[in-house]
């Protein structure tokens, strides 16, 4: 009954919608939330949305994991391996950035007691 969901177009549409929704949630958080950690999380959510979109759109239903095993004869019916590799790399990078960001935020909080992005007012036009 839900087999129409297996159609690549429908499925990709859902992926697009879902990840875009996620992206906009992230964007909303980024623009509307004041807390530094929330902002960093929003950034992470946006990144995730992009990853999901990538993976989702690069894979069609029925494709197998692109793993070379003993019995495999040819690269048939496999998902494209590149997006997955790239996404893995991107996740690592994103994690690094997030980690750096959080550590900076924590240090900033320790130093000044502030965690509000609007409170970053040390540097400004005079």
């Amino acid at each position: 009954m839900l087999s129409f969901l297996d159609e690549p177009r429908v499925l990709h549409g859902i992926y697009v919608l879902g990840s875009l929704t996620l992206f906009f949630i992230g964007l909303y958080g980024l623009l509307a939330k004041r807390h530094l950690l929330k902002i960093l999380i929003s950034i992470a959510v946006m990144e995730l949305a992009v990853y999901l979109l990538f993976i989702g759109l690069a894979t069609s239903p029925g494709e197998t994991a692109p793993i070379l095993s003993d019995g495999l004869q040819g690269f048939v019916g496999m998902a494209d391996p590149v997006p997955q590799a790239l996404t893995l790399t991107a996740i690592v990078i994103g994690l690094a950035v997030l980690g750096l960001g959080i550590s900076l935020a924590v240090q900033y909080h320790r130093l000044t007691g502030k965690a509000d992005v609007a409170g970053l007012t040390e540097l400004k036009d005079v």
Binding site: L27, L30, L31, V117, A118, L120, T121, L123, K124, D125
Partner: protein
Amino acid sequence: MSLILKLFFFAVSLSPTALLMGWDGHLTWTLLDGVGLSLTLTPLAAFFLLLLALAAPLVALPMLRRPADWPSLALYAALLAGMQLLLLAGDFVSFFIGWEIMTWSSYLLLLRSPRTEMATSQSYILFNLASAFLLLAGIMVFYGLTGSFDIRPLVGPTQPQQLALALLFGLAFLIKVGTLPLHIWVPRSYDEAPDIFSAFLSAAISKMGVYGMILLLTLFPEALTGLYGRLLNGPAAGYLLAWVGVITAIVATYKAISQEDMKRLLAYSSIAQVGYITTAVGVGSSLALGGALYLALVHTLVKLLLFISVAGIVLQTGQRRFNDLGRLIERMPISFFGVLIGIIGLAGMPPLPGFAAKYLVFVSLVDARWLLLLAAMILSSTAAFIYCYKLIYAPFLGHANSAGAREAKEAPWPYLVPQVILMALLFGLGVFPGFAIEVLIDPVLTALRMAPLGGSSWAVLTTAYGGYDGVVLMSVFVTAFVLVTGLFLLLRGRMRRAGSPYDLSYAGEVPTEETPLHYGAGMGRELRRIPLVGWILRHSSQGFYLGLTRQMRAAAGLLGGFYAGNPQTWILLAVVVFAVVLGLQAVTGGI
């Protein structure tokens, strides 16, 4: 060590002289991608190089006095190098490079003075850079037209092209010479610059604008007449320029009269003098250009003399306001003669060469049938007598008004030597008015393909309208003077020196030390009651520029609001731009 360095700097200051004597040939230097500098000495440039060669060592001499300010000397060397490059330029790139080096090095020299204010230095550099950038824009237009940076006449330009070039270059050079209403940087900077350097600013640097204006004329096939035809007997486009020059001269003269500071007075007088030159360039005939060059020569000599003398006074008394000086004639007699000869030259009195120069310009105006301009020019040059008189009366005559003025000694020799040299030069040129014409000016006119003005001998100045003989004039005057003085002294009777400076005929009262007897700053105050003069003195273009500055700062504040530091705003703006552009594309049918 320091002596060797000083000798070196003096040698550098002689470099324009060396260049003038020794240059023959052509030098090229590649810059980049088909742009090269080519250096060559045209007769026109040689004339202005001569002015530089006169000014450079005479200004260097007092600058070398102990304690020497080494950065000033280094900058002065850079300035001289830049100006020589500018004069040697055979193409616009080297012209511009020289122009800019001149601009920034003179600016930095200006900063060496402790009196320079922010407003002064900013107006100096901004006006001069505006001039430079207009020049560069003009050069680019020129390059776009001809495909080459070489300075040579345009071939078959259209009217709009000529107009664009004339406007861009013309404005650039008018800023440099400081005509109204682009002059407000001049008085402040001449006033507040280091005292000696003011001499150079007024004598040499302002002449580069004159050089530029004359150079501009050579770019067009028919000079100014090609632009809008003729008016009466002169070029129509030049009529406007001539009026700009004359109005500048009139306004600057009245402003000069109302000044209470020696250097500022001289600054305004410089503006006025260069205004005459502008007028002469506007007339554009051979007579007028000869007059313009002559005026430039005389103005260089006179302003060097006056500024150096005044620098000596400031150095010895520590005072620069007319109210605080007085009676220096007995303490600084050589400086007195310096200023005296200077103002005679400045006022254009015969027998000094200032008259010869003005004579040429007057005659050229009559020749062009531009009589209203002649009257206006007479107005300013007669009014100039008042400030000339103020300039000699207030410091040297009357009563000493400050301790500094009462105890001053004659200026040190590095100040006096240039003064004596300049006095001799002025005197010599006055006796032989034809010398400058024949030796200095005629080669330029010939090179510009104009009729030379030379007369039968160096003693005479001849024009188609008549001329005069400097030797006869001078000998008649000197003979008369000797005769009169001799006869007077032969008469019976005793001369008695007044017992005290207060031994005066003072409306029946006996003045004392407390009586305000010095009329220094008050001179010319009543001129305000003349409606025209009052109107001129009440108005200033400064408000306009201040308003412009305010507007700029307000704009900066407004735009600076974008840069208020909230990351969310930044991102929001980026996203909004993204969305708007996308939306626009969608609406216009892109998507």
